[in-house]
């Protein structure tokens, strides 16, 4: 049996093909081949908050790998040796992460707008502060991600906003 999964990790795309023969399996991860033997899971899988959680254990190159894997929508989170690896499946999985230089300044998380320092028509340079938010009791300054002109400001000081809401739009100069 052979299955191929496309995973995005940051800017990289990894094609993982698994050829399984009982417990023995061969994985092709990118240009690497991993011969592995799968071990029974140490705990049964469970579902919580819309996610599935599994323990995945396999032996490769005489080394035991014990990972905890969460699948939540198009994201797969893997905990392995104290580090978390975030993969996305699907074609546009990477779009949500690392939105560099779009001119759309969005709330990174739910919180309250403390102060808005730009208005429509202002010229801003990348890195200039545009507003201050408070979330989890800490103030965070959001900055322009491109040079340009502020063409839309929806943020209002004192209002609470959800994560992902675009607060300021900047059109490239």
């Amino acid at each position: 049996m052979s299955t191929t999964t496309t995973l995005r990790h940051g800017e990289h795309t990894l094609e993982v093909t698994i050829v399984a023969d009982g417990e023995a399996l061969r994985g092709h991860v990118g240009d690497r081949t991993v011969e592995a033997r799968r071990l029974p899971a140490s705990a049964p899988p469970y579902a919580t908050a819309g996610a599935s959680v599994q323990e995945i254990t396999f032996v490769s190159a005489d080394r035991t790998h014990h990972a905890t894997v969460v699948r939540h929508r198009d994201r797969i989170l893997v905990a392995l040796r104290g580090r978390t690896y975030v993969f996305t499946t699907g074609s546009d999985g990477a779009a949500a992460h690392g939105s560099v230089g779009t001119g759309k300044i969005a709330a990174p998380m739910p919180g309250k707008i403390i102060a808005v320092s730009v208005q429509v028509g202002d010229r801003v340079t990348s890195g200039a502060p545009v507003l201050v938010m408070e979330a989890m009791k800490m103030e965070t300054t959001l900055t322009a991600d491109i040079d340009g002109e502020v063409t839309r400001v929806t943020a209002v000081a004192g209002e609470t906003v959800d994560a992902g809401v675009v607060l300021v739009e900047i059109t490239p100069a």
Partner: protein, 495 residues
């Protein structure tokens, strides 16, 4: 004292429940609407709902807390840290309601809570201060002159401050007005007191604090020091005891200074006197924290003294039960704070469901956690998930144990600083005890998570993606994690 209301949440509320239980006291948890299924609620003997999720309507809501104490029949209140722990009017209100306040006298809280008044008190006790303002910065021309006299870089700090809130680092004169405004605004929001003042930035310096404890019978002792130099956003992320460069003479001098302040303000119960220690072994008073510290476990690990149980006993009127000569220090302890935050994005807090959670274990490992798998990390509160600590006979052994423990820890859901903490422990400068308050900026900024095992992780992800899908439902191999209330309900019904 028979039943203790814990006016807090998260890991510290769980910690206080444990201390209550060891002394045979009952515990009452309070919960906002966001915390009905939180770990501290499950841990305590009783629970009282106190209001909506925003802290000012629940954990900062004095009338609701006093009413909760009354309806639950509590006769004492432990404030934990944060929230109302250093609020003198809350301490007075608790005592006015006929309840025992598990903390220092309200007057001592008020004096030390005003950082400017604290500087005056420390100076009067003969303790050296960090050079800085005598009065609040309310006149911009005078402040500019004062800043020029102190020299840049300097810190703008909130008179009512704590936890890095209302604090700004200013490197040049043109940044001063903006920093004053931002600090005052943050301080007003956090403390309803916008007064700020200036302090010279001493760097490189270590943050070293002395744990003190006093009873109502005139005994005051110190429990040694903690070094807490590893900080981000002016908040501690790693603490250890002893300070790796401590000498008996320096410890004695710092402890004498801390105890002089303690006695000068008529202090009772647990407190911490914070100092900066410069490269020449000179120390300067920063502030006194009139409460239990987040990092109290490292002191417990090296002294064997249960600080929270001692707080409860002292508040009940008992003598400390030990003298300075009885306090001995054994081995080395290190604690790290596991936060739901993104170290790659300026340590921005993260929130949301915690899908998977596994705590480390093993010799010398101690975990103080406020979360469990399946819980949602609320956006309303501090994003700390747990404190992970290790004790060892030497610093190297403590580091090795803690580093191993971090590798065993699983926290999947929000972004966390787990890998960042491992990189701190692995850093050669940390191993060499070359720590100072600018450590993270100097060595780990900007920080990107290394991905040494990405191919193995990808294989695990693909194996999970192609395994039987537990979400499909009806599979005999899958289960739904019960909510904590379901677990609690079954336990109560079955009991």
């Amino acid at each position: 004292m028979r039943r203790v209301l814990i006016a807090n949440r998260g890991e510290i509320a769980v910690r206080i429940v444990r201390a209550c239980r060891t002394l045979g006291l009952e515990s009452v948890a309070v919960a906002s609407d966001a915390d009905r299924t939180a770990l501290h609620v499950l841990a305590a003997d009783r629970m009282v709902a106190i209001g909506p999720a925003p802290a000012r309507e629940s954990y900062l809501n004095v009338p609701a807390l006093l009413e909760a104490a009354q309806t639950s029949g509590a006769d004492a209140v432990h404030p934990g840290y944060g929230f109302l722990a250093e609020n003198a009017s809350f301490a007075r209100a608790v005592e006015a309601a006929g309840l025992t306040w598990i903390g220092p006298p309200a007057d001592a809280i008020a004096t030390m809570g005003d950082k400017l008044a604290a500087r005056v008190a420390a100076a009067a006790a003969g303790v050296p201060l960090v050079p800085g303002s005598e009065i609040a910065a309310d006149d911009s021309a005078r402040v500019a002159r004062e800043a020029a006299a102190l020299g840049y870089p300097l810190l703008v700090k909130a008179a009512a401050g704590g936890g890095g809130k209302g604090m700004r680092l200013v490197r040049t004169a043109d940044a001063l007005p903006g920093a004053l405004e931002a600090a005052a605004r943050e301080a007003t929001g956090a403390f309803a007191d916008g007064r700020v003042y200036l302090e010279r930035l001493l760097e490189p310096a270590r943050h070293v604090e002395i744990q003190v404890f006093a009873d109502r019978h005139g005994t005051a002792v110190h429990l040694g020091e903690r070094e807490c130099s590893i900080q981000r956003r002016h908040q501690k992320v790693l603490e250890e005891s002893p300070c790796p460069i401590m000498t008996p003479a320096l410890r004695a001098a710092m402890a004498d200074a801390a105890l002089a302040i303690t006695r000068a303000v008529g202090y009772v119960n647990a407190g911490t006197v914070e100092f900066l220690l410069d490269a020449h072994g000179r120390f300067y008073f920063l502030e006194m924290n009139t409460r239990l510290q987040v990092e109290h476990p490292v002191t417990e690990l090296v002294t064997g003294i249960d600080l929270v149980a001692t707080q409860l006993r002292v508040a009940g009127g008992e003598p400390l039960g030990f003298s300075q000569a009885d306090v001995t220090f054994r081995g080395h302890a290190i604690e790290v704070r596991l936060y739901a935050e993104d170290p790659e994005a300026g340590f921005l807090p993260s929130a949301g469901p915690l899908f998977a959670w596994r705590e480390p274990a093993g010799p010398g490992i101690r975990v103080d956690a406020g979360v469990a798998a399946g819980m949602t990390i609320p956006v309303e509160y501090d994003p700390m998930l747990a404190k992970l600590a290790a004790w060892g006979p030497t610093r190297d052994v403590a580091i090795a144990r803690l580093r191993t423990g971090l590798g065993d820890t699983v926290a999947l859901g929000p972004s966390t600083n787990l890998a960042f903490l491992a990189d701190v422990l692995d850093h050669p400068a940390f191993r060499a005890s070359e720590t100072h308050t600018g450590f993270i900026d100097a060595h780990l900024h900007p920080w990107r998570q290394a991905t040494p095992d990405v191919h193995d992780a990808a294989l695990a992800a693909a194996l999970a993606a192609t395994s039987a899908q537990p979400l499909a439902g009806g599979s005999s191999t899958s289960a739904t994690l019960p909510t904590p209330w379901e677990r609690l309900g079954a336990w109560r019904v079955g009991a």
